[in-house]
């Protein structure tokens, strides 16, 4: 993850090292999918060029553009990060002032995209050359200010073009949210609200929202449904998720539900359930390490040196919040290439592939193969990490069977 304050002012050069100017701003689509589309580069004469990001050759300390890059104009629905978003007042639907936009977080994996709005103290400090020194001093004093974000899903993109950052906090507008953001929002409300919301949402969006809930919430939600509603939703959601949910019901109720499912779905579910006889709990190993999001690379490396010498297999470091819930992961390669004083939340992956104690072996194996991973974390329904499972142990067990 990058911050706008970190990229603003970077030198922009051509592949053959000819300086064009400095990055003054970024342009993005004011939509639910806020892709960054253009760089705004200012030369020494203060002339402004809009360059599509497809011309970026590489971006590290400086930004290098491909040879023969072309400039472009502002298109419809495009707005500037610095000019239109940074420093703007954020207000809620009732017009109450909430806070200002201190910085903008940019996702730099795959596509460049606005990820969220930094509304915290760190977002202000980042604009100062001495900001990092202040953060280090605070760390030294035992104070660890954590970043404070507003998800892009909480912002009304259409209002941005009018120069306003307005939060969306009523039901009608929630339909425009991304499913995962809506799931996050609904998890914080009560189940009754969630049921009401699922009823009014488009079926496809509702399906994605259900799939984005954490498993604990999914189970609580399904246990409040009547049988016909359970069957309706199970027919829609992913097979793996459906099996996870079915396993929480009694055998009698489970059979009753499975019998009422669509024939195709019934077949897939029964096939997956065959692999549920052995729980993966017996494969759990404790060779894993957790860190806090505000730990620096230096601190993590020091801990790895001290604590992981006798680990059977070690490649991933898991990030947990103050409640010990798993919130991110990064591998050793990502750790080593990051700045030694960078905090891990800046480069950790937040989209996690997880196993639960109830996850059938077959499903676990499919997850290993699908995502080409060697080790996966196993969590409980409170998202607390219980241990990790290695693909070698799992495949040996399946082979023995």
């Amino acid at each position: 993850m990058l911050y706008f304050s970190e990229v603003k002012g970077k030198k922009v050069l051509t592949e053959d090292n000819v300086e064009i100017g400095k990055l003054d701003d970024l342009i993005f689509l004011a939509s639910t999918n806020p892709l960054i589309t253009k760089l705004v580069v200012k030369n020494k004469l203060q002339e402004e060029f809009l360059i599509p990001i497809s011309y970026i050759h590489k971006m590290n300390k400086d930004i290098y553009l491909k040879k023969g890059f072309q400039t472009n104009d502002l298109s419809e629905n495009e707005i500037y990060i610095n000019k239109n978003l940074v420093d703007t007042q954020i207000i809620d639907l009732k017009g109450n002032k909430v806070v200002r936009v201190n910085d903008v977080a940019i996702q730099d994996k795959d596509n460049l995209m606005v990820f969220g709005i930094d509304i915290g103290f760190l977002g202000i400090l980042r604009w100062f050359y001495s900001g990092e020194a202040i953060v280090k001093t605070l760390h030294f004093l035992g104070l660890k200010p954590a970043p404070k974000f507003l998800s892009w899903g909480d912002v009304q993109p259409l209002e941005l073009a009018k120069g306003k950052v307005i939060l969306k906090k009523n039901e009608e507008r929630l339909k425009n949210l991304r499913p995962e953001d809506l799931a996050d929002y609904l998890e914080k409300t009560n189940i009754a609200n969630t049921r009401k919301m699922l009823k009014i949402l488009d079926k496809n969006l509702a399906k994605e929202v259900i799939e984005s809930f954490n498993v604990n919430y999914q189970i609580s939600l399904f246990h409040t449904f009547k049988s016909d509603r359970i069957i309706e939703w199970l027919n829609l959601i992913d097979d793996d998720e459906a099996v996870d949910i079915l396993l929480t019901f009694s055998k009698k109720k489970r059979t009753e539900i499975i019998n009422a499912l669509d024939k195709e779905k019934q077949k897939k579910v029964l096939y997956l359930l065959e692999y549920t006889e052995t729980a993966i709990g017996s494969l759990l190993i404790a060779d894993y390490m957790t860190v806090k999001p505000t730990n620096t690379v230096r601190e993590v490396i020091n801990r790895i040196k001290k604590e992981t010498g006798d680990y059977y297999y070690f490649n991933d470091v898991y990030v947990v919040n103050d409640m010990n819930q798993l919130i991110g992961v990064f591998n050793l390669h990502e750790l080593i290439i990051s700045d030694i004083d960078a905090q891990v939340y800046k480069f950790m992956h937040q989209k996690l592939i997880l196993l639960y104690l109830t996850t059938p072996k077959g499903i676990a194996l499919r997850k290993f193969l699908k995502y080409r991973l060697h080790v996966l974390p196993v969590i409980d329904f409170n998202r607390k990490i219980l241990g990790v499972v290695a693909i070698d142990d799992l495949s040996n067990l399946i082979k023995q069977k």
């Binding site: 420093d87 007042q89 109450n96 002032k97 806070v99 200002r100 202000i124 604009w127 100062f128």
Partner: protein, 422 residues
């Protein structure tokens, strides 16, 4: 402008106009009156005691300069609907905002300390125990600000402003030479242009036109929700009324010490001692009223300057900050107000702290901030996109720039002179 005033108060519309004027009345007058805080009273008293009626001529200029600068502030606030902090953050970014906010906070803290210190000295003169009195006044100020809404706060500030009448009675009791006083206000009379006179004139200017005054008038107009074309001209008139009223009362403060201490050549070492010093010449009532006036000015200055920082914080960093919002919704705003008063209270009660150094530091910081604030004011009032048809016209702009230059030079002069004195 005068043509406008004439139209507004024409016979047919008089009643309506008066109502509209009363509807917008408050922010500019309160801001201007609070420029006569305890530090202001001390400065006027010292100037009057040392230079007599001759220093009154400075008041005429100060009134014009105050009116011009306050008018720009009110015009910006009514037209844009934003406070000075909002505009600085949105136009100049977070780096500039953080520097200005910290400078303003420190300078304001110094001003609050000066006001609380004046309250402490005055309570001691009246034989009251300082410690409980200061704690009580801080708690009462916090309750008054958090529990009351904008309207109650404004009414209390206006009522407090009425207490300045005490200075009129005090001045009358000193039996001044009214003819000479009035003549000295309009025409330069017996002015000896010494270095000390220039310093005193600048000190009078510096105590009246302050960075916090510029911030407060913006924020208070916004908090009163004065918007729209029809209110603007009345709000502008109010700035002139406010500027006049402020220096109207300053006139009596100077006159009281001029008629007593200057005439009898009694040196005054500290402004706060003026209440006691005039007693032998003007009697006990005048002395008590003068002292009560300082207490009142100290309270008003302390609360308003404290609110200024809280308003500025809300504007710079985008939090809810309004006297109309309950504590739960404007927590940062109210807590910052309390924090400033508490820190100032602790410092004032510490015997080892040099208040002279704090006042020097505050003056210097205000002096450094003032040119920057005027730069922002002129930048915004010349921004057509923001101000539309209310952008400064050419002549007003020249006048505003000249006024700003005078204030800036005066501010710089104060810093340099303070450095030499220090």
């Amino acid at each position: 402008m005068f043509k406008n005033i004439k139209t507004i108060f024409s016979k047919n519309k008089f009643g309506n106009s008066l109502l509209l004027f009363l509807a917008v009345f408050g922010p500019a007058t309160i801001t201007a009156m609070s420029d006569n805080d305890a530090a202001g009273v001390a400065t006027y008293s010292l100037a009057g005691a040392k230079f007599g009626y001759s220093i009154l001529f400075v008041l005429l200029f100060v009134t014009i300069l105050l009116a011009i600068t306050q008018e720009m502030g009110v015009r910006i606030a009514v037209t844009t609907g934003k406070g000075l902090g909002d505009l600085i953050r949105e136009l100049f970014g977070v780096r500039v905002s953080v520097f200005i906010f910290f400078g303003l906070t420190l300078a304001n803290l110094g001003t609050i300390i000066a006001n609380l210190s004046a309250i402490k000295v005055t309570t001691q003169m009246f034989g009251l125990p300082s410690l409980p009195f200061i704690i009580l006044i801080i708690i009462m100020s916090f309750i008054f600000v958090t529990k009351g809404n904008y309207k109650t706060n404004q009414n209390v500030f206006l009522m407090t402003s009425l207490f300045y009448v005490a200075y009129i009675i005090s001045a009358v009791k000193t039996h001044p030479d009214w003819n000479l006083a009035l003549r000295s206000t309009i025409l330069p009379t017996s002015i000896h242009l010494s270095r000390d006179f220039v310093f005193a004139a600048i000190a009078v200017l510096g105590t009246t036109i302050t960075p916090w005054g510029q911030f407060f008038v913006h924020s208070y107009v916004i908090d009163k929700k004065i918007t729209g074309e029809k209110h603007l001209k009345y709000a502008q008139i109010e700035t002139f009324v406010g500027a006049f009223l402020t220096d109207f009362f300053s006139f009596f403060m100077i006159t009281a010490t001029a008629a007593t201490l200057f005439v009898h050549k009694i040196p005054l070492l500290s402004g706060e001692q003026a209440a006691l010093a005039i007693k032998p010449f003007a009697g006990e009532l005048a002395s008590i009223l003068f002292g009560l006036g300082i207490l009142n000015a100290g309270f008003m200055g302390m609360v308003i300057v404290g609110l200024t920082t809280a308003y500025a914080f809300s504007e710079f960093f985008g939090y809810e900050g309004s006297l109309d919002k309950p504590f739960q919704k404007s927590r940062q705003f109210y807590l910052l107000f309390l924090l400033q008063l508490s820190i100032a209270g602790v410092i004032v009660l510490m015997p080892s702290i040099s208040l002279f150094k704090i006042v020097f530091f505050t003056q210097s910081l205000n002096g450094m901030l003032l040119p920057v604030i005027f730069y922002f004011l002129l930048k915004v009032t010349n921004n057509k996109k923001l101000m539309g048809k209310h952008t400064n016209n050419k002549w007003y702009n020249y006048f505003a720039i000249i006024c700003s230059f005078i204030i800036i030079i005066a501010a710089l002069f104060t810093i340099i002179s303070s450095l030499f004195k220090f």
